[in-house]
């Protein structure tokens, strides 16, 4: 093995050193009795609980239903946010008519609507999807709007003088110009997506990861509670990786993302 591949391996391993070290310390602390397993079960116990749920197939059911809620909510909220952002970003009339209304609604913390949402939708799927959609709409709306407004007017002027207008101007100049900002919005929205889902599932649900955690709490199964928390973390990380993947593909022209892609 050459020196450079060793160096690359070390670079890849470096980010994992601290989390693995913490896990080891945690395991030791529980094993030595210094930390009660009532407060925090050992990682091995969490792993065992995970294995049990995995073997019974129960965990997949919860993961699927949580993923479904998150995905549908994100698609609806993100789609509406994108559309509204395009409208207000591209047309003076749209901005005049819509922006201040959207900004007003944005200032309402969407989790404060939970009592109302329960009255409207019961503790149904629709309630959770609605909350997730509301949570993801605004970050995407704001960043789409600002992304479009900040597209370099010099480039738009150039493109128009080369005969681009209407949809081709939008597709070739305005959308790619706004894309870095839109993707920032997507990353924020993904964060809000999980946060909202956790709260919604914890308050009222009969399935999903949040339900798994609340149910385990009733029976003092701290290992399952910790497992559920870890599952949320993994899902959040996966969403972030997906967003970064999009950035790497769609923004590969951008020097900042080229450097990042090369460094990893």
């Amino acid at each position: 093995m050459s020196n450079t591949t060793l160096h690359k391996l070390a670079l890849r391993a470096a980010p994992w050193a601290l989390p693995l070290g913490l896990l080891a310390a945690w395991q030791l602390a529980v094993a030595s009795g210094w930390l009660s397993s009532r407060i925090l079960p050992a990682p091995s116990a969490v792993l065992a609980a995970g294995w049990e749920l995995l073997a019974s197939g129960e965990i997949w059911q919860h993961l699927a239903i949580s993923g479904q809620r998150a995905g549908i909510g994100f698609a609806i909220g993100g789609g509406i946010g994108l559309l509204l952002g395009f409208i207000t970003g591209l047309s003076k009339w749209g901005e005049c008519f819509l922006d201040s209304s959207v900004q007003m609604i944005r200032n309402v913390p969407h989790l404060a609507l939970i009592p109302l949402v329960i009255l409207w939708f019961g503790i149904d799927e629709a309630a959770k999807v609605f909350l997730v959609a509301l949570g993801t709409l605004f970050p995407i709306y704001l960043n789409t709007y600002h992304g479009i407004r900040n597209v370099d007017p010099a480039l738009v002027e150039m493109a128009r003088s080369y005969g681009l207008s209407g949809f081709s101007l939008f597709r070739q100049v305005i959308l790619p110009g706004a894309l870095p900002s839109i993707l920032v919005g997507v990353r924020f929205a993904l964060g809000f997506m999980w946060l909202t889902l956790i709260v919604a599932e914890t308050i009222s649900a009969s399935s999903g990861i949040g339900y798994l955690a609340m149910n385990a709490r009733e029976f003092l199964q701290t290992d399952v509670v910790v497992l559920a928390i870890l599952l949320y973390a993994v899902l959040g990380k996966l969403a972030d990786v997906a967003a970064r993947g999009l950035e790497r593909v769609w923004l590969r022209w951008h020097p900042a993302y080229q450097a990042k892609a090369g460094g990893q």
Binding site: R149, R160, S161
Partner: protein, 271 residues
Amino acid sequence: MTALHNIRQGIPPGGVPLAIENIEKSFGERQVLKGIDLHIPAGQFVAVVGRSGCGKSTLLRLLAGLDQPSGGQLLAGNGSLNAVREDIRLMFQDSRLLPWKRVIDNVGLGLSGNWRKQAEEALAAVGLADRANEWPAALSGGQKQRVALARALIHRPRLLLLDEPLGALDALTRIEMQQLIERLWQQHGFTVLLVTHDVAEAVAVADRVILIEDGQIGLDLDVQLVRPRPHGSPLLAALEARVLDRVLAQPELPTPPEPVSPLPTQLRWAL
């Protein structure tokens, strides 16, 4: 170097004859162009010089159709300049390449059909054939301007408008670009209007130097020197001195900001 001749066959090469008749332009209270009359025969290489804020870039923007004149008319031959809009291409001060399109896709901007081969030829004509698949961010300033030149040339313009395209380049790259533009102009025979504040550049490349002072033509000078013109020739130096004397004899204007590209807020009108 004959590559570009094949791009738009069937259309007679050559330039647009230009008639600028009593053109005026005001931005609000401020009158930038105060009645400019200028006749440019087809295929002439004209350099427009002047202090910053004199209105030379405004004139170019009017010719490019980016702004509308407040008075007077712009003619191409006997018809309106708008009728030959497709034959006019503008090169900006900055290259204005789309950073998210590869070099070759920037050259083919606004073209439909199978333009790839033409774009490769246009890039070859500016000496960048091997950079076709790179991102603009990977190019130097001079290379970006050469791509912008290829992007203009692929349309086979009959009037090429150059808005200080060499202003931001280093001295050596500048001379290279001047020679490149001169060579392509000799090949294609388009009319060129080069706006510059570099008087030496103007007399080195142009057939005719127009000095704009305070929105009016202050000097109209024919440069009847054979090409290629050797750098540092005393004849060029004498002409340069003549124009500079005239420029510097004028008291400097209180510098109003040049009217430039639309404000960010105007972008909303883009679609």
